[in-house]
């Protein structure tokens, strides 16, 4: 399974990349929402993990853009951000994020959330 990690901070991309690769996921990276859109077009991924605060196109705008495009309207999106604001979380979920976790976060929590989202997707498809 391939996951795209979208974050403007190189350190965070590396750390999240380690978490995912050590659990057997393939990872591609993007620096911001625009970079993610470009790479999505050429690289098929199964899930997106995105930060909120990024230049040029932030996480919220990325989710909004993806959900308005029929190609990406169903792709699972997990927001991983430092923003611990209830309103931001609510907005992200309303825009279409499937999950929202607050940094700092461990590999176990990320893995757990990924499994949770995938389970929800499968149940949705089954029903």
């Amino acid at each position: 399974m391939k996951i795209m990690v979208v974050d403007d901070c190189k350190t965070t991309r590396k750390l999240l990349g380690h978490y995912l690769k050590s659990r057997g996921y393939q990872v591609v990276f993007a620096e911001n929402g625009l970079d993610a859109l470009e790479k999505l077009g050429t690289d098929s991924v199964n899930m997106i993990m995105t930060d909120m605060n990024m230049p040029y196109m932030d996480g919220m705008e990325l989710i909004k853009t993806l959900r308005s495009d029929s190609t990406w309207s169903e792709i699972p999106i997990l927001m991983v951000t430092t923003e611990n604001d209830g309103i931001e979380k609510e907005t992200a979920l309303e825009l279409g994020a499937n999950g929202y976790i607050v940094k700092p976060v461990s590999g176990e929590v990320i893995a757990h959330n990924i499994k949770l989202i995938l389970k929800q997707m499968f149940s949705k498809e089954a029903s």
């Binding site: 690769k21 050590s22 230049p55 931001e88 940094k103 700092p104």
Partner: protein, 474 residues
Amino acid sequence: MNTKRLNKLLSDLTHKDSSRRRSAAEALSEGDERALYPLIKSLKDENLGVQDAAIQSLMNIKQEATAYMLLPLLRESSFLRNTAMLILKEMGKIAVPLFRTLLTDKDDDVRKFVLDLIYDIQYCEYPDELVYILSNDSNSNVRASSAKALGILQFRKAIPQLIHSLNDEEWVCFSALEALAMFNDDKSLEHIIALLDSPSETIRFAVIETLGKIRSQKASTPLIERELKADDFERKLIIKSLVQIGTISSTPHIRETLIEMLKEDEWEDKYTAIKGLSNLKVNEAISPIIDLAGSLESSVPENEDKIEFIKKAIYSIGCHKNLTNIITSPSMKYRGKTIALEILGELQCKEAVSVIINSMNSDYRDVRRASIESLIKFESDEVSKCLMETINHTDSHVRKIAIMAMGKIGAVAAFEPLITMLHKEGYSDIQEDIIASLLKINATLFLSRIDEFNDDTRKCIEHHTADSGPGVKC
């Protein structure tokens, strides 16, 4: 900017035509603090082009007032926040003094944002305060950001606290490792090495990478010991770090791992593998490395660096039959052969001469061209003879190089054949090369026969002999 013009532009910023608003926003980059607030408002324009122009203009008005007016946006919606950060980063040092008071802001995110900005700008006049944050802030994201910032600032006084932060949460520890890697400091080494036994895989990975970046020989033994118990992923990381440190040993499995690493997607990994293989002078790696270079489209400028790096790596391995065999290998594509030919010429691998001569008749134009350019680097009778025979080659580019080479080596035996060629050569640039070579071989004799040629050719010869400055074309 005069007030009249400014007012006109400010008025246009709210025009119903978005192209007018954009032009106004662009023009206001020459503005002063009177333009700031309207430009900041334009960041919320519905048109992306207007937003973009406002961003660029704000970046251009590099004044403390601009930074001052942007800071409140750090508390706004995500787009405004991120845009403000983008502009503040671009503003650079001038903004940094204003961040100081925000380091104690009650909002965790604001504290983190300014630390991230300090990291991006790589400047801070009050680094001691960052050390305090690293040890005392309640929020681990903030502590992690301060660790990163201290690393990039190279603030050595922070090293003890960074070492202490290795015992902090994983997120902070990771950033502290990154920071310590930037100091290249032996003092922190034993503390970092101790983490090779961390129960956290992620920390172990980060430690291995950090030791590679620090490049201290002292890390070699613990890394080699760790390699024996590591799984595949960790072993690859260790080998990469050992390559960077320069203590990689040439065991079969390390050579195999490095050759495998050539297939990794990330070029950082490929570079490390190539470096390791060239340091170890692994001859069996020559072909896969050249193949890698050959897979790169040479007309894409960003590939030039990669190809150059690869060539240097092969130069350091030196002449070997594996390099020569590439020229005749049916599986190697033409681009790879071209690069191999170039390298053989640079290294003057004498044992490759006959193979290079044969490849001048390749079906591939690039290979023919590379063959002759490689050959002219050798000085031998065999090569001179071959070059002479090549002056009539059907490929004009090959012909051209052979002709130039004749002039360069002053090949007397080529004089008459060149005279014959000058009568029939169709390409004007090759005619010039023939003339230049003939003049080098024997100017007196050549000029004494000038009447043998038609008017155009004579004029060309006269241009070459007259002192008429550089770059004269026939």
